[in-house]
Symmetry: C2
Subunit: 186 residues, 2 copies
DNA sequence: GTCTATACAGTGATAGAC
DNA sequence: GTCTATCACTGTATAGAC
């Protein structure tokens, strides 16, 4: 039985801990508990400690979105890419049961530590969605407006779903946005 | 010169610390630094420690919203109440430069500690806004949809504004919602 | 690579002088 | 009421055995 001994294998586990407890609330003992790896092993993989672990997690999340969401929005057929975005985010955020790690990091002083990564995650999401909408026929000003509102709305839906312990909020929000983007103007 | 020696005077200061650092990131030393009060005084006002301080802060925030936003939405002239809500939240959140403490608490395991307070803050906001919209002439299903989308959108706008360090996101989001609510259906 | 042992600063909290 | 001193504990991080 092969256990985890590659850095890439533990990053998703560490990501879950950061997602659940935030940066400050994540302790090495919790990471040890989740991964089964002692501090020695963790510092072997991440010499920079907790900070480097968080950076690896952010890079991992960013890589997933770049590959599954942003790149198709920029380069693929716009209607397919948008449809894949709805499926992708609903799946990724477990229909509202999972929280956005990047959004959570943004809210407290953790943002200052990872400001560039956090800003890039959102600006690239908005920019790639705007591109797809324009290629789908939306005028530039409406495309940017809709893109911003969708990305912002997904974050808000995740906050509200978790705050009220009502996951259905997330699905309803996605449905509203999907419907709105389907009605081309004119 | 009268300094702070009432519990009510220090709550807003403590609120700022929780808003900036989150629950886990807020330490008693940071509260001491902000308020100028030593641990002795803090535990005199809040025998329950950090937990009781956070509860007092949540109650303070809740009281402000109940008084300035929810009650007018439920009882006042709907158009005036909605207009006052836009002014109120723009002012309260400093046009996007301030974060929502309740939303931030909702994202990590802090939610479990204050679950009832956090859920109530959002469900009452949505319910009171829905009431106002219905009294303004919106059909029930659209009123609840819009209310949920506005409350959720405000949270998302705060996340996005802070994440991208672009406060203007917040103002644009408020303007979009305001415009949408002005166009009564039919 | 993975572990145990350990260093040391910082945490929330309490006691008691004034 | 406010302070200082102190508590037990947990935090991140390091060193070194195996």
């Amino acid at each position: 039985m092969r256990t985890l001994y590659e850095r890439a294998d533990v990053v998703p586990l560490i990501a879950e801990v950061f997602r659940e407890f935030g940066f400050e609330g994540t302790s090495l003992s919790r990471i040890t508990e989740k991964t089964g790896l002692g501090k020695g092993s963790l510092y072997h993989f991440f010499p920079g400690g907790k900070d480097e672990m968080a950076r690896a997690v952010l890079a991992h999340v960013d890589g997933w979105f770049e590959r599954e969401i942003y790149a198709p929005l920029r380069d693929g057929p716009p209607d397919d890419a948008v449809a894949q975005m709805w499926r992708g985010v609903d799946d990724y955020f477990r229909s509202g049961r999972r929280v956005c790690l990047v959004g959570a990091f943004a809210l407290d002083e953790t943002r200052d530590r990872f400001a560039a990564d956090i800003a890039s995650y959102f600006t690239r999401w908005i920019a790639s969605l705007r591109d797809a909408l324009m290629r789908a026929g939306w005028p530039a000003d409406q495309a940017i407006d809709h893109a911003e509102e969708v990305v912002l709305g997904i974050q808000g839906a995740l906050v509200l779903a978790r705050a009220t312990a009502d996951e259905a909020v997330f699905g309803r929000a996605l449905a509203r946005f999907r419907q709105r983007l389907q009605q081309l103007p004119g």
